[in-house]
Structure formats: C-alpha cells, structure tokens
C-alpha cells in the first residue's frame, strides 16, 4: 500500500483552494479583501495558485482608512501589479465626506469602526455578492464559530445564533437578492500555520513585519509607532526601539512588539515561543469581552 499522506500545510492549502474555486463558481461577483497584511497576502497567493494559468477571476478590494503606514500602501499597489489583479480601493475618508460615517473624537479615537461603513458601501456600490477575507478561527473566540461561507443579511449583518450548518465539503452559497456572503478560506490555519506556509512558499511581506528601528510611544501598555497619525501626548516619552508588527492595521491602533527578528525563520521561532496572541496588542479588541462579536454582527470582517 502506498502512503498517500499530505502534510498539514498541503491539506490546508488544498482546502483553501477548493473554497476559492467554490466561491468563483457559486457567486457572480466576488471580491478579495486585500490590506497587504500577511493573511491577505497569503489569500492572494493561494488564489493565484488556484486559478493558474488564468488570472484571479475577482478583484482585490482594499478598505483604506487613510491611516495606513506608507509601506503598506506601496506594497499593496506593487503586489496587485505583479500578479496582474484589478485593485479597487474604498476610502473611509469618502464615507466621512459624504456624512455616512462620523469620525470618532476623544483621545482613543480610531477609524477602525468606520471601516465597516465603507466596507458595506463598497460592497453595495460594486455589487459584490461574496467578499473573501483572510480571517482565521484561532484569532478570536467569536471567529471560532464562524462558517467558511458566512451569510450576511441585506444590512450586512451576521446572525451568529442562526448560522447554516456546514458539513463535509458542501458549501451552500444560495441567497436572496441584496444579501451577500463573507468567505474565509483560511479558517483552519493558525497564526503558526500562516508563518510556516509563507516560509514554505517563499512569500514576500511588507518590511513592517520585520524588526526595524523606529520612534515609539507607549500608550495604555501598547507600543505605537510615532507617525503623522500618532503624535506623542503630554507626558509621553518618545523612545527609539527595535520593533516589528505582528498584524497590519491602522497606525493609530496597531501595537508593535519589541523584537530583533529580521528574517522569517527568526519570526517563526518567536511565534513558537510567543505567550501573547497576535491580536493581544490590538486596541480595538480590548474595548470589551465581546468586542469582535459585536463588530462582526454589524458587518465588520
């Protein structure tokens, strides 16, 4: 008897490819959310593999808060160009200008919540009936229960208590007009799997993921990079630290970790030894115990 075993990474990739192809087949107008964060880069990479030698049959979609690091935006544009994908950018600033989103005020204001407004506006305007995202079930406890094919009503809301059962490899993407689906092909990856997969595939990442020197302030226990969006407040000390980012969110809320890991191998070692989840330093999740579930119900990713 031959040994027909696949490594866990190959099994996870085969599953993600299957789901990407199901999305292309079951929906008329899908879009792939692309923020130039590592999970979305993995999504774009697997999509390219799933449809090779044809191009990815859906556009990359970025909801841009206007508070991104410049390195992120440069990487985004260059990557879309390299794989020959269409790129659509929805600007949170446009929603604010139209009055559909209202900028938060106060010391901890962020545009994180406003992304939901712009995302839903983008979905409506571009008539996406499925939006692919790189969300994983290990990220957060509400996500642990979300389906691969996650239904949204015509207000973009998620109903966690009334999800369609999902069995075997059979995905039900049927919907009424106006409804859409959020689809998560990387659901079964963990943070460690994503890093190991990127290493196996030789995937390039924005420089922010690797250790570099930067001016920082420490605010509520979170290390933030000093930038045009984050200026030191009175009494805050600006320190030059060697840091890297574990996730790619807004400059206003994405905390850095002190680290000297400047290669993927070193980052993998660090992830293996880490005692904090990668979202552990995202201020948006710290607002309440069910912060993620509450935002997801409203239509957040």
């Amino acid at each position: 008897m031959f040994d027909y075993n696949l490594s866990h990474l190959d099994q996870l990739e085969a599953e993600a490819i299957f789901i990407l192809r199901e999305t292309a087949a079951q929906f008329e107008n899908p879009g792939l959310l692309f923020s130039a964060g590592k999970d979305s880069i993995v999504m774009a990479h697997i999509s390219r593999k799933a449809f090779y030698p044809a191009r990815i049959p859906f556009p990359l979609v970025h909801v841009d808060t206007g508070h991104n690091f410049p390195e992120t935006i440069e990487f985004r544009d260059a990557y879309a160009d390299k794989i020959g994908a269409r790129l659509y950018v929805g600007m949170v600033q446009d929603s604010i200008d139209q009055g559909t989103a209202v900028e938060e005020t106060g010391p901890n204001a962020s545009r994180n919540k406003l992304q939901t407004v712009t995302l839903l506006e983008t979905i409506e305007e571009q008539q996406y009936d499925a939006v692919l995202g790189g969300g994983r079930r290990d990220e957060e406890k509400a996500r642990a229960k979300e389906r691969f094919f996650s239904h949204r009503n015509d207000f973009g809301e998620w109903d966690p208590k009334n999800q369609r059962p999902e069995l075997w490899n059979l995905f039900n993407g049927r919907k009424q007009p106006g409804e859409h689906f959020r689809i998560f092909p990387l659901s079964n990856f963990t943070e460690m799997d994503v890093w190991m997969y990127m290493h196996q595939e030789g995937i390039e990442l924005p420089s922010l993921y690797y250790a570099h020197e930067r001016e920082t302030v420490t605010r509520n226990g979170v290390i933030l990079a000093v930038s045009e969006f984050v200026q030191p407040r009175e009494g805050e000390l600006v320190e030059t630290k060697v840091i890297r980012f574990r996730t790619m969110g807004d400059a206003t809320i994405t905390g850095a970790v002190e680290s000297s890991a400047n290669t993927m191998e070193k980052i993998i070692e660090e992830v293996a030894a880490a005692r904090q989840t990668e979202r552990g330093n995202r201020a948006d999740d710290k607002r309440s115990e069910t912060a993620m579930e509450d935002r997801k119900k409203e239509g957040y990713f």
Binding site: E22, A25, Q276, G280, E289
Partner: protein, 414 residues
C-alpha cells in the same frame, strides 16, 4: 507534520471543557492574554477557579447562559501533528451540531463519567460517530480520581461499552483510556495513579493513531469544480479542469471516462499551480488537462471505467433533519452533491431512528428538528454517487430549502 481532525461531544459537567482546556494548556496553545481574559471574566461571574469552559464558549449568548450552542473549532499542535477539534455540545437538542462536527472528523473522543458509566448520551455520541463513519473512537473514562482510580469500575464500563458498540459496524478502532482531565492523569503522560493501565496516554494516542487509510485511494473520482480557460496569448488553447480529488489516484496517461456524457479520453497533464504532478490523490486540489476536446463543465465527474460510481435518480439515504419546519413526504428541495446541484423530492420516509435506543420507528409521517431517518429521494437529473461507507465525498449530500435557502438536512447515501 500531518493533520488529525477529531470531534468531542459532551455537556458541561462531564469534563469536556476541562479536557480540551487541558490539551490546549499542556500543548502551550493558550496564550497569556487569553488566560488573563478568562481569569478576569471568571472573577466577574464570581468563580474562584479559572473556568476553562469560558475558553470554548465564544458567543455572548453562550457566555450568558453558560451553555454551548454551536460547533466551535479549536487548534493545537505538537511537534508530531496539528490537531483540529470540532467541539460540539452533547445534548440531544444539538444533534445537528454533533453531526456537523463529526462530518469532517477522523476520530471521536467519547467521554464517559466514571461515576455514571455508559449512559444515553454515550450511546448517542457513538451512534452519530458510526453514522458519520468515524472509524476511530477513543473511549475516555474521565474522573477516575473520583472512583479511587479503580480498575474494576473501569473494566466494567469498558465491557458495557463494547457490548453496545458491537452493533456499530463503521467503528473499526476503539481505544479505551482511563483519565482524569482535571488532574492530568493519562492525558500527556502515563498516570502513576493507575499502574494497572498499560496503554498509551491520550495525547500519545492522538499523535500516533494511523488515519491515512480513511480516504478512498482505490475508486477514482474527480468532480469538476471550475473550468480554467486563460484566453491569454501564452496559454491560448489551454483548457484545464479544476477540482479536488475525491477518491482514487490519477496519473498522466490514465484512461478516464466523463460522467454523465460517457465519453472516454486520457489525462494529458496534472498541474498544481505551475508544477506538473506524477499523480494526484484525495484530498489534493489540482488541475487536469485532457487529450481530447470534450465538452465538460462544473458538476461533471472524471472516473475510471473499471470502477465507475452509480448513476441514478433514485437514492436511498439516512438524513439528519436540521430545520424547525418539519420534513414532510413529497417536500421538494435542492440537493447539493459533490459539485452538482439538482432538484429533489423526498418520495418516501421509511423510518426514523431513536438514537438513544437504536430502534427503528416505521410508523412515521414526518421528521422534526434533530431527528434522523431513512428516506428515498428522487432527483430531477442523475447523480453519480457511491455509498457513504465507501466514500465520504461522493456519498454525502445536503438538502436546501429553495424558499429560504437554508440547509435543512445532511444525508448519507446507503
């Protein structure tokens, strides 16, 4: 490193959450900030001890009510294997969640409270594991510390279990292990409290149980998912058929038949991205090119002549009913099977199973939420199928209510 998917089922008080918490904790899969968050919310609720169930109960409603209402997926890894746990509630009203969790699992952990022995819930879990063709079952007799680590108690429970399980044909590998999830006995290391037990610890077993034979590598099945036509200058004439191998082994040069058209041709190349493969097997996602131009689209299937699947419009199956609206005979649905969809009607409801007693009830006119029964289906166009016991991918289907678009049943072809 390979992958093992397993399912657990149980209620709060049989120690399931403690067991999962223990596996995650001992494999260092719980992070400090998660532990902090759990301690904090345990404290808010007035629990003195850290309540590990809070780690698995993710939704607000569950945390408020202290119950698990949905399937939650958990992950941990050791240097040997990555594990995916489908953690499901054990109460009869959540049968649909148990079925969902079991559908993708290679192994089931059936938890028995050493003080209570084999109870209805034990039988229910085992019946569902068998129905969903989980071939490997670990019978974890938990709370051994509360029965003084008694071998007699354990032996009696295992004898009871085996006599009941002898009727469950699909379970080929039953592994009993006496444990205490709370104290860590026989979880990672062999317990010193039970020198009479000579088997492996739970984690050792999970790391080493052989599940490679669970896929069907004999009967070749390739449901076409998507046709790749680049229409670029470089790949002008390229027509590739994308899909996931659902059985057997395909190699370039192999003769294949296309269902339903019946045309035969040979495989030219098999691609995985830019790489050409010498062979493809389940569960790989690949692209195949063929040596003849044949009209093939999504929902068609590539098979081999010597062991083709059944082709037909009348199908006998066991189904689990998921909807609050009852199944009535003559109801019409959409059936989704492999990458194919068709209209279907339940032409007969033969019996329903009492999953606590394993008795069949033939005097039946409908199925209600969480009930399991045997039906005959008639489809508007033919399906290419195998019995579920031969192939999980080509033997399974779901029924969708065309009015609400809800998934209302899961089916296993007999």
């Amino acid at each position: 490193m390979d992958l093992l998917r397993f399912t657990t089922a149980g209620s709060v008080d049989d120690g399931k959450s403690t067991l999962i918490g223990r596996l995650l904790y001992d494999s260092k899969s719980i992070f400090e900030d998660q532990l902090e968050a759990i301690k904090e919310s345990s404290r808010k609720k007035g629990d003195e001890n850290m309540n590990l169930a809070l780690l698995t109960d993710g939704l607000k409603a569950e945390r408020e009510q202290g119950i698990t209402i949905d399937v939650a997926y958990r992950y941990f890894a050791t240097p040997k294997r990555k594990f995916i746990i489908a953690d499901t509630p054990g109460h009869i009203q959540y049968t649909r969640n148990m079925v969902t969790g079991a559908s993708t699992a290679n192994l089931a952990i059936v938890l028995i409270d050493a003080r209570k022995g084999v109870i209805e819930q034990t039988k229910r879990h085992s019946f569902i594991a068998n129905l969903l063709r989980i071939q490997h079952v670990v019978v974890a007799v938990n709370k051994m510390d509360l029965v003084d680590y008694s071998q007699d108690v354990y032996d009696k429970i295992i004898a009871d279990y085996k006599s009941f399980a002898s009727r469950l044909d699909n379970i080929v590998d039953i592994r009993p292990i006496p444990i205490s999830a709370l104290n860590g006995d026989n979880i990672v290391n062999r317990s010193e409290n039970m020198p009479w037990y000579e088997g492996a610890s739970l984690l050792y077993h999970l790391e080493n149980v052989y599940v490679g034979g669970d896929e069907n590598h004999v009967q070749a099945r390739f449901p076409v998912q998507w046709v790749i036509r680049p229409q670029s200058d470089k790949f002008h004439d390229f027509r590739g058929f994308a899909g996931r191998v659902s059985g057997g082994v395909f190699k370039p040069g192999d003769a294949v038949r296309i269902m339903p058209s019946g045309f035969s041709t040979t495989i030219d190349k098999i691609y995985q991205d830019k790489k050409e493969l010498a062979e493809a097997f389940a569960p790989q996602s690949v692209v195949m090119t063929l040596n003849d131009e044949i009209d093939i689209s999504r929902g068609d299937m590539l098979v081999k002549d010597n062991n083709a699947p059944h082709l037909g419009q009348d199908i006998e199956a066991m189904i689990c009913w998921f909807s609050t609206v009852n199944l009535n005979p003559r109801s019409k649905f959409v059936i989704r099977h492999t990458t194919r969809e068709a209209k279907a009607i339940v032409s007969e409801l033969r019996y329903k199973m009492d999953i606590n007693t394993l008795r069949k009830n033939e005097d039946v006119s409908s199925l209600t939420l969480n009930e399991i029964g045997r039906v005959k289906l008639h489809t508007a166009s033919p399906l290419f199928y195998d019995s579920y016991n031969k192939n999980r991918h080509t033997g399974s289907f779901i029924l969708i209510d065309p009015g609400t678009n809800e998934t209302v049943a899961a089916g296993m072809i007999l």
